[in-house]
């Protein structure tokens, strides 16, 4: 069975990702991109092979969605790296992808061929894949938020950064002492990059949610039923909406914005797997497929 080869394939893919992450630290851009891309191609080939042998998209169980997540994390990391050249991003995504792969090796939760009728729909693959992509992108954004927050607390007494984006857009900020005490702002490039990534993540989140709505109409008769999974999807969506709106406020607290981003990612965990353990959702969600 194809699953027997997973450990081997995963080790090869992780080795490539690790090589890419290492090369990033050394500033070797081409090696970074090529190695990560090869790792991704190998991992994706395995997913396709599973798709073929299972005779259905491998998207049903939590284990199968983790597989996609392990794939999309380095992919999101690579996209961010390609644009921004963060040395650290691929190390983070590689470590996280490895964690998810290890979970899958020790607790496979995979994979009978059975696909219950409710999941036999052309919406199934796009709905879940788009969501996994969103989760990966927003995971990368969360890592960036943690990184910037750590940085901000490290140099809490530090020199005020001279020309920040937020100061530039709001001239009052530069003459307001209390704001300087609050202190931390991102430089304009980092700021635009973070917002760009979150916007991309939110766009995919919107696709996932609305594809789900269109599918629900075909499968269950209505496009929105406030099923616990839907409720938490709405909460997650509102969380990221709050972040991108708050970031547009000319005089906002950057640190609070970064905390919001982390909080939104916690809400996302609730939506993804947290509700499986939530007493209020037990036995009421139609989103349980084992």
């Amino acid at each position: 069975m194809i699953w027997d080869y997973f450990t081997l394939v995963a080790i090869i893919a992780i080795a490539h990702w690790a090589l890419g992450a290492l090369a990033a630290w050394k500033g070797k851009t081409r090696t970074t991109i090529v190695a990560t891309a090869i790792g991704l191609a190998i991992f994706f080939a395995f997913i396709i092979a599973m798709w073929v042998t299972l005779e259905r998209p491998p998207l049903r169980t939590m284990g199968e969605t983790r597989l996609w997540y392990s794939f999309f994390l380095p992919l999101a990391g690579l996209l961010v790296y390609a644009r921004k050249r963060y040395k650290w991003i691929l190390s983070f995504t590689t470590v996280l992808a490895t964690v998810f792969i290890c979970v899958n090796i020790f607790k496979p939760e995979i994979h009978s061929k059975a696909l219950m009728p409710a999941l036999q729909s052309p919406w199934f693959a796009p709905h879940v894949i788009v969501y996994m992509m969103a989760y990966a992108i927003l995971g990368a954004a969360t890592l960036m938020a943690v990184y910037y927050l750590a940085k901000s607390y490290r140099k809490v007494q530090g020199v005020p950064e001279a020309k920040t984006y937020d100061a530039a857009i709001n001239s009052e900020a530069s003459i307001e002492p209390s704001r300087k005490a609050a202190g931390f702002t991102l430089d304009s490039e980092a700021s635009a990059e973070l917002d760009g990534i979150v916007r991309a993540g939110l766009a995919f989140l919107t696709f996932g949610m609305l594809f789900g709505a269109l599918w629900a109409k075909e499968a269950w008769g209505h496009y929105w039923s406030w099923d616990p999974k839907e409720t938490w999807a709405a909460v997650t969506w509102l969380g990221y909406l709050l972040f991108i709106h708050y970031r547009r406020l000319p005089r906002h607290n950057t640190r609070l914005a970064l905390w919001l981003l982390i909080a939104a990612f916690i809400l996302l965990q609730m939506c993804w797997w947290g509700i499986n353990y939530l007493p209020s959702a037990q036995g009421t969600s139609v989103h349980t497929y084992g």
Binding site: S112, K113, A114, L115, M116, P117, A118, Q120, S121, I169, A192, D195, G196, R199, A200, L202, A203, F204, T206, F207, L210, A213, L214, K217, E218, A219, W220, G221, H222, Y223, W224, W226, P228, T231, W232, A234, V235, L238, G239, L241, L242, I244, H245, Y246, R248, L249, P250, R251, L267, M270, I275, L278, P279, S280, A281, T284
Partner: protein, 310 residues
């Protein structure tokens, strides 16, 4: 210059936070005094009147926005933030509470006044924001540059789409009909049972020709379906197959494979369908499609430019 005013106290986010707190307080008082929101009241034609009144009110507020500062404030970012946060918190409470549709406070959030009022407030803000951006686009198009930016298109699609989806899904819900129809082999059935157990005569009749059940090797179900013969009052007469995920549509009704005689399994001589009619669906879908297009634009547009206004 409107935005300049908005940045000054007390027209910052605190006012909106105050409004949200007041709405929650009023909601709790209402819940206590008159009980849960009774959505059935909004059945046709009340809902279309409400929709028209809402649009008229929004337009009026938009036109008066330079005279009444509150109206322009309601389409601003500082007003939006507490509204989103309040909707988020109440939806989170809903996610943490078992929902039962018993009309009892937190366990029936959809009929809980504070929840409903918070979303009405969000809808109001989204509506006014859409109008404001539309009028800005109109003035840009009339201006010397005649420019239309991707960011503006995305903005309108996202906000107008959400407005349309929220209003049509909510106001249309009382018109939504969902009935279970139990059909037996070889006999036409035209009656359906609603959620409260009442029997209704329907304009669609279904005869079960054959129930289909297939299993995987391990015994887990692979397919439920029914071959049916459909006749409608409007004179349609045809045969079709209803599969899970593949409803059959006729005269504004969608016919879903819902259940069967689970004890008999593959030998079931009955098949249960759900018949759904949702006259507001095309409008809610228009909103959803606008939001999808908006998300697509969001991927490619540069949202940063949106910060500068007026």
């Amino acid at each position: 210059m409107v935005t300049d005013n908005l940045r000054q106290a007390p027209w910052d986010w605190r006012l909106s936070a105050l409004i949200c707190a007041a709405l929650v307080a009023v909601g709790i008082a209402l819940q206590w005094a008159v009980g849960p929101v009774v959505w059935a009241v909004f059945a046709w034609p009340v809902n279309i009147i409400c929709m028209a009144a809402l649009l008229a009110a929004l337009l009026l507020m938009h036109l008066l926005r330079r005279k009444v500062r509150l109206f322009s404030y309601l389409s601003s970012l500082p007003a939006a933030l507490p509204a989103i946060a309040t909707a988020l918190v109440l939806t989170m409470v809903m996610g943490l509470t078992r929902q039962t549709a018993d009309g009892h406070w937190l366990s029936d959030m959809l009929c809980f006044w504070p929840f409903v009022l918070a979303y009405v407030y969000v809808t109001l803000i989204v509506g006014l924001t859409t109008l404001r951006r539309l009028s800005k686009i109109a003035s840009l198009l009339a201006g010397p540059n005649r420019s239309l930016r991707i960011a503006d298109i995305a903005f309108v699609l996202n906000h107008a789409g959400l407005f349309l989806a929220l209003t049509c899904a909510t106001l249309g819900n009382p018109d939504l009909q969902r009935l279970k129809m139990i059909t037996t082999l070889g006999a036409f059935e035209w009656r359906g049972v609603d959620d409260s157990g009442l029997l209704h005569n329907l304009p669609v009749a279904i005869e079960l020709k054959r129930f289909i059940m297939e299993s995987y090797d391990d015994g887990s179900p692979r397919r439920f379906a029914s071959d049916i013969h459909v006749r409608t009052k409007r004179g349609k007469d045809f045969e079709a197959t209803v599969d899970v995920n593949h409803p059959v549509e006729v005269d504004g009704w969608k016919i879903y494979q819902y259940s069967y005689d689970t004890k008999a399994g593959a030998d079931s001589r009955i098949s249960i369908f759900e018949l759904v009619r949702d006259p507001w669906l095309p409008y809610a879908y228009a909103g959803i499609i606008m939001m999808l297009a908006g998300a697509l634009f969001m991927l490619f547009g540069n949202g940063r430019k949106e910060v500068k206004e007026s």
